[in-house]
C-alpha cells in the first residue's frame, strides 16, 4: 500500500486540518470499503451509493471517534450497518446485472456437491460465527487476498498475531462447513 498512514498519523492529520485529514482517510480506506460493500450488494451501482453514505457518516462521526478500536474496524462497522440498511430498503426487483458468486459452480466439498451461490451463503454464515477480529482477518486475507503486512497495517496487529488468528479462523470455518 502506497502512503499508508497509521491511525495515529491519520487522526493527527485530521486534528490539524479536518478536510485534509479526512481526504487521506478516504484515500487509504476506500478500496477496502468498496469491496466489503460490493460483496453484499453484488453490483457497482449500489456499491457506489452505499459507499457515499458510509463516508458521509464517517465524516460526521469522526469528531466523536475515541480510538478504542482501529480506524478500519470502526469504519467497517459503519460500512456493515449502512450496507444492510440499504439492502433492506432496496427494491427486490433489480434490473442491474449482479456479480457472479465468489466460488465457481459445481464444487465438491467433503463428498457434498454445492453450487457457487450455495457455498457463498454457507461461507458468509461461517464467517459471521467467528469473533470480530478473526472475521476481519479472514475477510481481508481470504476474500480480499491482502498480504499479512497490509492487514497488519489496517488492523494495528502484529503479523504473527494475524497468522494465528487466520489459522484459527480457517479451522473454525472448516468445521462449520463440515457440520452444515
Amino acid at each position: 500500500m502506497e502512503n499508508h498512514y497509521s491511525d495515529i498519523e491519520l487522526l493527527q492529520f485530521y486534528k490539524d486540518n479536518g478536510s485534509l485529514g479526512f481526504q487521506r482517510l478516504v484515500i487509504q480506506f476506500q478500496e477496502r470499503v468498496y469491496w466489503q460493500i460490493r460483496r453484499l450488494t453484488k453490483n457497482h451501482q449500489d456499491t457506489e451509493d452505499v459507499m457515499q453514505n458510509v463516508f458521509i457518516k464517517v465524516w460526521k462521526a469522526l469528531p466523536k471517534f475515541k480510538g478504542e478500536s482501529a480506524l478500519f474496524t470502526w469504519i467497517y462497522r459503519i460500512t456493515f450497518n449502512e450496507a444492510h440498511t440499504f439492502l433492506t430498503k432496496r427494491n427486490k426487483i433489480r434490473s442491474v446485472d449482479l456479480d457472479p458468486p465468489i466460488f465457481e459452480n459445481k464444487l465438491i466439498v467433503e463428498g457434498h456437491s454445492y453450487t457457487g451461490d450455495e457455498m457463498e451463503v454457507i461461507m458468509f454464515k461461517a464467517i459471521d460465527s467467528l469473533p470480530e477480529k478473526q472475521q476481519h482477518v479472514f475477510r481481508l486475507k481470504y476474500l480480499d487476498d491482502l498480504k499479512y503486512k497490509e492487514i497488519a497495517q489496517l488492523l494495528n496487529m502484529s503479523e504473527g498475531g494475524l497468522k494465528a488468528n487466520y489459522h484459527h479462523a480457517v479451522k473454525k470455518i472448516e468445521a462449520f462447513i463440515r457440520h452444515y
Binding site: 476506500q30 478500496e31 457515499q52 465457481e104 467433503e110 497468522k163 480457517v170
Partner: protein
C-alpha cells in the same frame, strides 16, 4: 516470618536468560507445518473479482467532498396545506359550537303577562315583586307551574309571614 525474609534476601539470583527480541513475533511463521495440512477452504476455486475502473477511486473523493460542501436545501413549506388544515379545524369548531347552542333552547319559561303588569313589575326587586303580588291579589297559581320550586317556597313563606303579621 522475618527468618524467612532473611533467607530469601540472602539468596542471590542469577540473571534471567535472554530471549531474542522478535522471537515471539516470528514464532508462528517459523512453525514447520505439515505440508498436507492445507485446508480445503484454501483450495476452493474462486471466480475472478469483478473489474472496477481505477478512475472510480480517483474521482470518488472529489464526489464526496462536493457532497459535503453543498449547503443543505431549505424546506419549502406549502401554505396551501396549512390553510386547508386551519380552515378544516375552524369549520369543525364552529359546527360544534353551533350544535351545542341549538340544544340549549329549553327551559325558557313562558309566562304570559299582562303587558301593563309586566311593565309594572319589570323594575321590581324580589321583595317588591312579592309585595306587588300580595297587594294586587294576583293569583300565581296559574303561573306557578313553570316556576322554580325554591322561588315558590320563598313566595309562599313571604305570603305566610305577611298573613301572620296581619
Amino acid at each position: 516470618m522475618s527468618k524467612e525474609d532473611n533467607i530469601l534476601n540472602k539468596l542471590k539470583k542469577t540473571e534471567k536468560v535472554s530471549v531474542p527480541n522478535d522471537y515471539f513475533d516470528t514464532f508462528f511463521s517459523n512453525l514447520k507445518l505439515n505440508e498436507n495440512d492445507t485446508s480445503f477452504i484454501e483450495t476452493l476455486p474462486k471466480n475472478n473479482k469483478p473489474e472496477v475502473s481505477t478512475e472510480f477511486f480517483e474521482t470518488f473523493l472529489t464526489e464526496i467532498l462536493t457532497k459535503l460542501d453543498k449547503p443543505k436545501k431549505g424546506k419549502i413549506i406549502s401554505l396551501k396545506s396549512i390553510l386547508i388544515s386551519v380552515a378544516s379545524i375552524a369549520a369543525v369548531v364552529s359546527l360544534l359550537f353551533l350544535m351545542t347552542n341549538l340544544f340549549q333552547t329549553d327551559r325558557i319559561v313562558e309566562i304570559e303577562y299582562n303587558t301593563e303588569e309586566y311593565l309594572a313589575f319589570v323594575d321590581l326587586d324580589e321583595s317588591d315583586y312579592i309585595d306587588f303580588i300580595i297587594e294586587n291579589n294576583i293569583s300565581i297559581d296559574d303561573e306557578i307551574e313553570e316556576l322554580d320550586e325554591e322561588l315558590l317556597y320563598e313566595l309562599y313563606s313571604e305570603l305566610d309571614t305577611y298573613y301572620y303579621e296581619l
